[in-house]
């Protein structure tokens, strides 16, 4: 019984919502609640927290009563670790390179690394795509839209 429950998606979905709701409720109790007439900043979050906890419990409860579905995997059948990693790594590198080296290196690293996430992509193809986006992209944002973000800088 408990084993089946642990495999259900709604078990985790409900649990997550309950936890979030409880967290919001607890945190909002640190703000001034005021009275019903003069509500303080804490009243509305408190209400939302309680509602979310309640909904979380309901989702959790529906996991208890419904039979195990066919497709209850939380992660998709094909684990795209490489794709997921590259898609997150792209913007992270954009932040780092943008902070220290400027727009052009940031753009190139972002596009290049995230392009590597596709299973069929090659190193050379990703470099070319990176260049193909970087040059017009920087021209557009820096020269046409005048974004205050230097194309190159040395930010140490």
């Amino acid at each position: 019984m408990f084993q089946t429950l642990l495999r259900k998606r709604d078990f985790y979905a409900g649990g997550l919502m309950t936890l979030l709701g409880a967290g919001v409720t607890l945190d909002s109790s640190t703000y001034d609640r005021g009275s019903l007439t003069h509500m303080g900043p804490g009243m509305f979050p408190l209400m939302l927290g309680v509602v979310l906890t309640f909904i979380g419990v309901l989702i959790f409860g529906s996991a208890l009563v419904t039979p195990l579905g066919e497709d209850e995997h939380i992660l998709p059948r094909q684990k795209e670790w490489r794709g997921w990693f590259c898609i997150i790594a792209g913007p992270v590198l954009f932040i780092i390179f943008g902070h220290y080296f400027g727009m052009a290196p940031a753009t190139f690293m972002c596009v290049f690394v995230s392009a590597l996430g596709d299973r069929t992509s090659t190193f050379l193809g990703s470099v070319l795509l990176g260049l193909a986006i970087t040059i017009p992209g920087c021209a557009l944002f820096s020269l046409v839209l005048h974004l205050p973000f230097p194309i190159f800088r040395w930010g140490f």
Partner: protein, 520 residues
């Protein structure tokens, strides 16, 4: 009444035909049509990417462009559905059922031609509806006090979260999360920072662009990476000449077009039932009243005309509650409302009288934009068809760059980019747990106004929480609450009677080819 509406519309055309606005409208529909065609890109992601770029242009231009992306994408999405059997845009999922068989029979071009005609018919009706209905709604809505606004928002949020895709319970959970994210930042009245974890960058609240791009950009890319199969371009050679439908096909489509239009325009008025539901309902209706229902799914031109007309009439009609009441029906409308708010315009019933240029300019631009789309789609069909073949592996890295730079440009601050990454990861987790994150945006946009009106209503009523259902003094508010309760009761009833979704058969039919995983 009619004369005022027509004079206002005349004024609107004056606004929309100004060279600048014409240009923004054109860019909008062009980009929209493009992303509609590209498999794996949606209007939501595109509007969020373009949103930061509109900060520098006047509000009218910004709204014309962003709306253009939305309805432009509907034209493009149909091409994708009919020629490739890829329902990458939910409203066009049903169009695949009969559109693709037609393509296989070599009548794909005619199906596209009919689509363009029915889209235009549907859209025109939706626009007309907006011209006459929005001012009426406004005269009613201007009498609303805080209690009425609050109840109406509650109704809108409930409808938006329970009638959309997936489990209603999970939809409500997402809306509540959106409301909570909307709280982040300084309290309007007292200035107390809430849920900021002591981070000064969060005192202004979560950036709408970061939220939208995290949920519909990064999270979607993580979901679709390596999942979109290489498209089959076997049937995609369509030229201008193929678009002309035969007389018989035209004759059979008229009725379907008309019925689809009506269904779509009705669906648009109920918040939460956007174009997707409209197209499903109209297809089911068309099949039911047809003399030969068994032929549906084998390439009936009615099965293309009807859902397409209803999609477009509903897409235009969706703007009615958004612009006249300030209550968005779905995530796209929430984004457009967010764009207005960024420009410093308060959404709500006073919008039409305070900013007639925005409202009437928008209405007029719908017509201009739809004409542009017909012109873009008919002679240039060959070009759009070529776009179908752009693989996803080039698309998402480029889109990620626009995500990063777009979020950065909102405040010229790398913190927002980090915020987007975190939201994206959380959004992907929610997707994995079978949540649909679109209602988050709805809650987020309405949240602050909801809280403000709620507090005000309670202040006026001296802390009496029964004010919302007080039939004697606030009959309208009580009516909205009654509708909200009915909405929940009916859904519970339907769920308990039929545990599966309302249209299981259609959904099953539309799914198989949706996003076929690549075989390793």
């Amino acid at each position: 009444m009619v004369t005022t509406a027509l004079t206002d519309l005349w004024f609107g055309f004056g606004v929309a035909l100004e060279p600048h606005n014409l240009m923004w409208c054109f860019i909008g529909v062009l980009v929209g049509n493009m992303v509609g065609v590209l498999p794996g890109m949606g209007p939501l992601a595109t509007i969020s990417i373009l949103l930061p770029l509109t900060f520098g242009i006047p509000p009218v231009g910004a709204i014309l462009m962003l709306s253009g992306v939305f309805y432009g994408a509907q034209y493009g999405g149909a091409i994708c559905s009919i020629l490739l059997n890829l329902p990458c845009h939910p409203p066009h999922a049903v169009t695949c059922l009969d559109g693709f068989p037609l393509t296989k029979q070599g009548r794909g071009g005619a199906a596209l031609g009919i689509t363009v005609i029915s889209s235009f018919v549907g859209a025109s009706w939706g626009i007309t509806e907006m011209i006459f209905l929005a001012p009426v709604l406004v005269t009613v809505a201007l009498k609303f006090g805080p209690a009425e606004i609050c109840s109406l928002m509650l109704l809108g949020l409930l409808a938006g979260s329970t009638l959309a895709r997936g489990s209603p319970l999970k939809g409500v959970a997402m809306t509540v999360i959106g409301l909570i994210i909307g709280i982040v930042g300084s309290d309007i009245e007292t200035g107390t920072p809430r849920f900021t974890f002591g981070i000064p960058n969060l005192f202004d609240g979560v950036e709408i662009v970061a939220l939208a791009l995290g949920l519909f950009g990064i999270a979607e890319f993580m979901k679709s990476v390596n999942q979109l199969s290489e498209v089959d371009t076997k049937y995609t050679k369509v030229t201008f000449k193929d678009l002309r439908p035969t007389k018989d096909e035209l004759r059979r489509s008229w009725g379907a077009m008309f019925r689809g239009t009506i269904i779509g325009s009705l669906c648009a008025l109920i918040p939460g039932t956007g174009p997707t539901i409209a197209s499903f309902i109209s297809y089911a209706t068309e099949k039911k009243i047809s003399k030969t229902p068994e032929l549906f799914g084998t390439g009936m031109i009615e099965g293309v005309a009807c859902p397409e007309a209803s999609t477009h009439s509903s897409v235009q009609g969706d703007f009615i509650p958004t612009m006249s009441l300030g209550i968005p029906g779905d995530a796209v409308m929430a984004l457009i409302l967010g764009a207005l708010m960024i420009q410093g315009i308060v959404p709500g019933p006073q919008l039409i009288s305070e900013h007639p240029d925005i409202f009437w300019g928008l209405v007029a631009s719908f017509w201009i934009g739809n004409i542009m789309l017909v012109v873009l789609n008919v002679p240039m069909i060959g070009l759009w068809v070529k776009l179908l073949a752009i693989p996803y592996k080039y698309l998402y890295p480029s889109a990620l760059f626009f995500v990063c730079i777009g979020v950065y440009s909102t405040n010229n601050d790398m913190f927002q980019v980090g915020e987007t990454i975190v939201i994206g990861l959380a959004g992907y987790l929610l997707l994995l747990l079978d949540f649909h994150p679109a209602p988050i945006l709805l809650g987020f946009v309405l949240g602050p106004r909801f809280e403000e009106n709620f507090r005000r209503a309670m202040l006026i009523s001296r802390g009496d929480s029964l004010v919302f259902i007080d039939i004697r003094n606030h009959p309208i508010s009580a009516f909205f609450i009654f509708l909200a309760v009915m909405l929940i009761v009916v859904q519970l009833y339907v769920r308990l009677r039929k545990p599966k979704a309302l249209l299981p058969e259609l959904e099953m039919n539309a799914k198989p080819n949706a996003i076929a995983p690549v075989e390793p």
